[in-house]
Symmetry: D2
Subunit: 482 residues, 4 copies
Amino acid sequence: MKETSEEKLEGSSPRYSELFSPTDYRYSVPDLLPFLSEDAYVKYKGKVEAALARQLAKRGICSKKVSNEIEKAVEGISAEEVYAEERRIKHDVRALVNVIRSKISDEAKPFVHLTATSYDIVDTANALRIKDAISRVVIPDLIKLENALIELTLKYSKTTQIGRTHGQHAEPITLGFFTSFYVSRLGQRIEKISSAIEDLSGKFAGAVGVYGPLSLMVDDPEQFESDLLDSLGLKPSEVSTQIVQPEPMTDLLHSIVSTFGVIANFARDARHLQRTEISEISEEFSPDQVGSSTMPQKRNPINFENVESMWKKFMPQMITVYMDQISEHQRDLTNSLSQRYVPELIVAFDYAVRRLTRTIWNEKSRKPRLLVDLEMLDKNLKMSSDKILSEPLYILLSIAGHPDAHETVRKIVQESIRSKKSFLEVIKSNGDLSQYLDRIPKSYLKVIDDPANYRGIAVEKSIKIAESWKKKLSKFQSNHPV
Amino acid sequence: MKETSEEKLEGSSPRYSELFSPTDYRYSVPDLLPFLSEDAYVKYKGKVEAALARQLAKRGICSKKVSNEIEKAVEGISAEEVYAEERRIKHDVRALVNVIRSKISDEAKPFVHLTATSYDIVDTANALRIKDAISRVVIPDLIKLENALIELTLKYSKTTQIGRTHGQHAEPITLGFFTSFYVSRLGQRIEKISSAIEDLSGKFAGAVGVYGPLSLMVDDPEQFESDLLDSLGLKPSEVSTQIVQPEPMTDLLHSIVSTFGVIANFARDARHLQRTEISEISEEFSPDQVGSSTMPQKRNPINFENVESMWKKFMPQMITVYMDQISEHQRDLTNSLSQRYVPELIVAFDYAVRRLTRTIWNEKSRKPRLLVDLEMLDKNLKMSSDKILSEPLYILLSIAGHPDAHETVRKIVQESIRSKKSFLEVIKSNGDLSQYLDRIPKSYLKVIDDPANYRGIAVEKSIKIAESWKKKLSKFQSNHPV
Amino acid sequence: MKETSEEKLEGSSPRYSELFSPTDYRYSVPDLLPFLSEDAYVKYKGKVEAALARQLAKRGICSKKVSNEIEKAVEGISAEEVYAEERRIKHDVRALVNVIRSKISDEAKPFVHLTATSYDIVDTANALRIKDAISRVVIPDLIKLENALIELTLKYSKTTQIGRTHGQHAEPITLGFFTSFYVSRLGQRIEKISSAIEDLSGKFAGAVGVYGPLSLMVDDPEQFESDLLDSLGLKPSEVSTQIVQPEPMTDLLHSIVSTFGVIANFARDARHLQRTEISEISEEFSPDQVGSSTMPQKRNPINFENVESMWKKFMPQMITVYMDQISEHQRDLTNSLSQRYVPELIVAFDYAVRRLTRTIWNEKSRKPRLLVDLEMLDKNLKMSSDKILSEPLYILLSIAGHPDAHETVRKIVQESIRSKKSFLEVIKSNGDLSQYLDRIPKSYLKVIDDPANYRGIAVEKSIKIAESWKKKLSKFQSNHPV
Amino acid sequence: MKETSEEKLEGSSPRYSELFSPTDYRYSVPDLLPFLSEDAYVKYKGKVEAALARQLAKRGICSKKVSNEIEKAVEGISAEEVYAEERRIKHDVRALVNVIRSKISDEAKPFVHLTATSYDIVDTANALRIKDAISRVVIPDLIKLENALIELTLKYSKTTQIGRTHGQHAEPITLGFFTSFYVSRLGQRIEKISSAIEDLSGKFAGAVGVYGPLSLMVDDPEQFESDLLDSLGLKPSEVSTQIVQPEPMTDLLHSIVSTFGVIANFARDARHLQRTEISEISEEFSPDQVGSSTMPQKRNPINFENVESMWKKFMPQMITVYMDQISEHQRDLTNSLSQRYVPELIVAFDYAVRRLTRTIWNEKSRKPRLLVDLEMLDKNLKMSSDKILSEPLYILLSIAGHPDAHETVRKIVQESIRSKKSFLEVIKSNGDLSQYLDRIPKSYLKVIDDPANYRGIAVEKSIKIAESWKKKLSKFQSNHPV
């Protein structure tokens, strides 16, 4: 995994005095710049213009020479040039067209952008670069995180942990079972993202979607569109206006935001397991690291907090995405500015994925970086060893035919708290129970001897989940080579 | 289509003095009460308890007689009884269990709820009733709306309309092409919802997801869970904690909210097309209807406004849904209250679907209820007939080899505005253009004679879309019989 | 305090089979029905119509007899009648007008609603009833909660608690200091709400805000509006369109939602302090209460969870409120339906306030209901007694002139962890420190003897805050008598 | 007004290939860099450290020489240095402290940051720089926009415009009355923002809010805090934890987001008034500007669209702000990252304010830049001249004693539409009306002659509003000199 912002930005010394957005100086992911920076955006629009020229040549509308000339001109274009022209004419795509035209012969000029409306280029370029960014960087990063969770699951599949509901001790699980829940949730989300990018679509249907200009030149404008987009690896929107249908992008962003929810949930869980009183796991702490500017003893879960905070910042952007589904008639432009911020959401998400991965997993040593305190796990489990027996007791009494087992056990618990006697003592002193207890097979009763036995199929299930996703990942990894 | 709230509630006279939520007295959908009312919720939880008893009997853990007894007891249960018991013990699912137990023999009592945790029942019941509500009511309603849009598309596929981008006249389309964009978007959303409900899952994995209690009784607890859920038409969550994985419900609600965005977009479009100055379409207005309490002449797009307003109210609930993805450790309860409001979101959405359908389509006469003013369509088109020729002219000049066609035409437009001469006049008076115009085939030039000709493949494409979705709907209709 | 939903609804047996919204059957606040139910809404609109008639009489436009007739007719009106008429004519305010007219003489008929547009009535009635609801129910409820927090603060002002940042033990505070933070935040929010309702305004400026109809009858329409609203205890919007300016309501709802955030924060804090491992406080648990349907031993913080969940459900409604600020030209109707849900937000908030109050305070016995475990508070504090000395040590060393005290102490902590020696032992074994320690006055060093001494002015400050808000509340209580 | 991004960034050539956020390369406001850039943030934190040193000197805890040394060291610090150190030790505030310490004598070293916790510095610095940014840049910018709206109001106070409700012609207003609604709303919002920044507060209460470290040195730690903050122009939070109370910042951001709603509403209104069919106003279009890359005739409301889009992007950030009100116990860090994005919200808002101002007003010529088409205003008004008489007719008939005037006029309108006769014709042909019409004073009837007369007090009221806010602004302008 290449390193994120800190290292990279050191090299390029970001001009802190010119930047407002932490995404650009603090939480940047340099690996995504070739896809999601403004310069990349211009280059992807250029790619689409080049594909159009090639398609025009294929249809004999212009010569191969002309299309080659355009294609070559496109390659060298930078955002700087285009912005300079935009400042003059106040139209970003026409600015790009003018810059291309300035680099080619008069013969080639008429064929640049011919029949296209701005959003044929813009929407297609956006679908393309976002698909590339996710396919080549985000999914590989997610796979690394998933792999780390799988390894943690396998390593700790048999480490008993007290399960907690409502923040209260409930029944035992294992630490690996805890992480296997995330292996499963994250794995399925990766599949969702992977399938959502396949639905991203481009368009080449002109200013209002009816292929007006193309119809002046070819008899099969839909085929022209389909061939052109196919050459870029995209499919067309079933029907467009000036813009592609917004739903495929909405679905993709939902798939990302909902994946963000999964990793924020893990970060929240981990953060609480690091509470001083619980201390079952904690973030690694480097020797030079400072925990607090004034309390030298502090060891804070700053990475887990950071991941949750990133989620809080970017999750609400879905409101913007949902509002952007509404565009008046054949489109208004009120989704233009707002959509320029979509790449940032992807960067922020990927940053959080990488940061969480680094926090729990050491890529170089292929070992967990997350610290696990086995003593505390055991100590916490023992705190409630007594009371967690009440569930199996109630079940066993029921099977043995006790007509009111839940209520009876509930009262035993209250008696145990009131009298400060141990749970087992109270059970044994309750004569009414013996007739039922006698009916229960000895082998079942072993869970009452040691609460750690009462963890159901936590071990087997966590291993099964981990192994199953390990296999599924191989499929993805071949599709998304790092 | 059965009628919504107004008619129904007339019969039952809602107690306006006891109700706060407009969903209960103003925007109710009585057809959804059997699934999404509080009483329905209790009944669905009962169904799951009955399924559990049957499964225990199948495994020989209790007798068939016992499971029959439980199943029969469950049938008669009402929300009133359960709420009365909940007031006493402050636990909703245990209250249900107590009510069931109060109706059966001592022999059967131990087997009610045996091995289940509350959320085995709650999550499974919710998945079930929401799936039923959507499958039996919401999707059939969506299909009716889709059918209405298809009929509108076919009827107006050849009715030329000026296309608008940025609220400005752009190039011609047809009214049917305008609606076909919604046929396509809505159709695809219906598929999305339909697929999302298939992913809803139940669980029977106990208090912390490790099948603790079940493991005391059977060797294959996952199979037990799978059989039980299968008998209800559901599949299990791959791995659960106390609760099912939240993502399938999150995906479903996203599919609904994003569909809401599509119909809100249609409502917004229609509302603006009804503006006094545009007046291409309008809502039907009944003879007794009052438009304004003070301006007797008013004809307001109140239904389109209502649909958009409903979207504004309920779309932000996705924030709650995303926040509810996060539940601490094996679950905290902070998603409990908030999830009780999920059914309301579905009701509100379905209300909007029905209201929009009624506004554009008369189910009885099988004719559009939406009024279309052909004269205004024509008048608006003619307003810009001149200027909309600039695009085809620029394209044709480009094909004819003009090196700077876009800029040339842009100046012709400005000259036309400045001099108040018609566009064609300015073209003809521009000697430089004749050399290019002469090269253009006569057949192409016909678009310049009548702008209505310059609508590309609007007619063919809109018909193709409509026919294609008509076919796809038959598949759905057989799956979701009304 | 009157009781909330459960008790009340028992009496009136809500028809669970007809209701979708939990606000109507589960989280209702009957005390708010006279203001925020649909029936109350109709009655408040009637009040405004009556005030108009009185004002017309005052100006001699109609006779006093006529205005009396109208006023009397208004009194008996119910939502049922108005809804019946609305079903016929599809306009809610005109329906009200028709119902009033049906009860009066032909002579009086013309003066009902004369010069008013619907929203003169609607916006004014909403401002009025929301102001009443908040002033008479919500603020008194908030004062009760604030009083409970004040009493907790005074009771526990000297009970030392370990302060926590990042979930990690930091430095000591007191339990009363913890609650005093909420006394201060909640107190200031109550002031905010109280000031926000004073800004709610009505209007009587006609269909587009220019007083067209009124200008036909009086020379000073603004004075007419101002007198009319003054008779209802409201002031006019500085300038209106068809509707009042949205910002005063937006500000009020912000004040409520941000207060909701404060109590949700308290609920979150309390919930975590009830974690099994921390157990410093917990909710009271009644003898009949069931904690879990399957784990008889559970004691869950269900009330704290409920409050946080309510916040998660209703906080995002601010998005709707912000979207409703935008209404096109002299108004579109897309804020109509959505604003009908504003009262529910207030009900939900008030429900949460009452529930939290009941959870921490017993109104009848005037004693805390929140359970505090002094042993656990002490045990938790002692866990870190050693390490929390590092801050004062670093400060004292700095004062004594140590040039690098923070770094030195940070290393002592690491050494203490590594060597498993106590913090004080490591300090004493560090010869370099003695020269600095010797310079520190003995009186200062006492904090190093007992970490409980190192709690700054927690005691004094918490008492000061509590006493100060006690005084401020008297002002409010006289303004908002319960 | 200094120019925004385009010009400035041209000079500094943003590295498009390294930036993700449009706020940094496309919508930047260079005037805000001295307050809201990352470099500014470091400098403001330095200012607070310097103020602390001065305060320590004032109390005799360190010498004046020491505090001078620290103050001088602080001045030269850049974000680059601090980031370099942070990379090493992973703590941002301690990094700043280390950098300061590296520039001063050993004697001075112990007094840097003495008694402070990171958030004493961070929260105070943030309150300070945001207060400065708003006071010195944002409010002056808002005043310019308000002034532009006032000038438009005065210029067009008598220009009759048809008022619109539901997008339908209602009754006449004036163009100046339309803008006066925004003068009033924006004016009041400016007051709100101005008052909200006064509530921003700092803190100096240590790691958990109880003044632990300060108490080791001074007897009156609250006074020390108050003096220190006073020297920076801030007041303290009534009581803090590690952080200031979140509500003052929440209120400020609400005041900004709700102001954003006001200008977004104006942009929406203006955008629709520019629709081809309405065309009452439009954005200026420069000679070189390109409207569409393919439709040379287009004149799009791109600036109004941009403002609305910016609102859509940034308004939902309030969700993050509301979530950040919740911080666990004496604080968790999950608001740290998210709050780093608060400055960007202010930048985006200010950008929109400036862009809207430039669109409607030419600062140099002191003249409107917004184009108004008087012919279209007149033409649109005339479209409905007939029917808008129905309201005054209904009012006048009512005054004249007609018992059912609204219904009668409603039917006249329907008859007029049905028969295609003019409204006046139908009235005159209705014999039943003459008895009432005869009773109406002639002077009142003049509104029926010319609908433009029926605009109530639009002219007087709009002028009154404009003049009143002109006066109020002088107060602000002296407080916020540009």
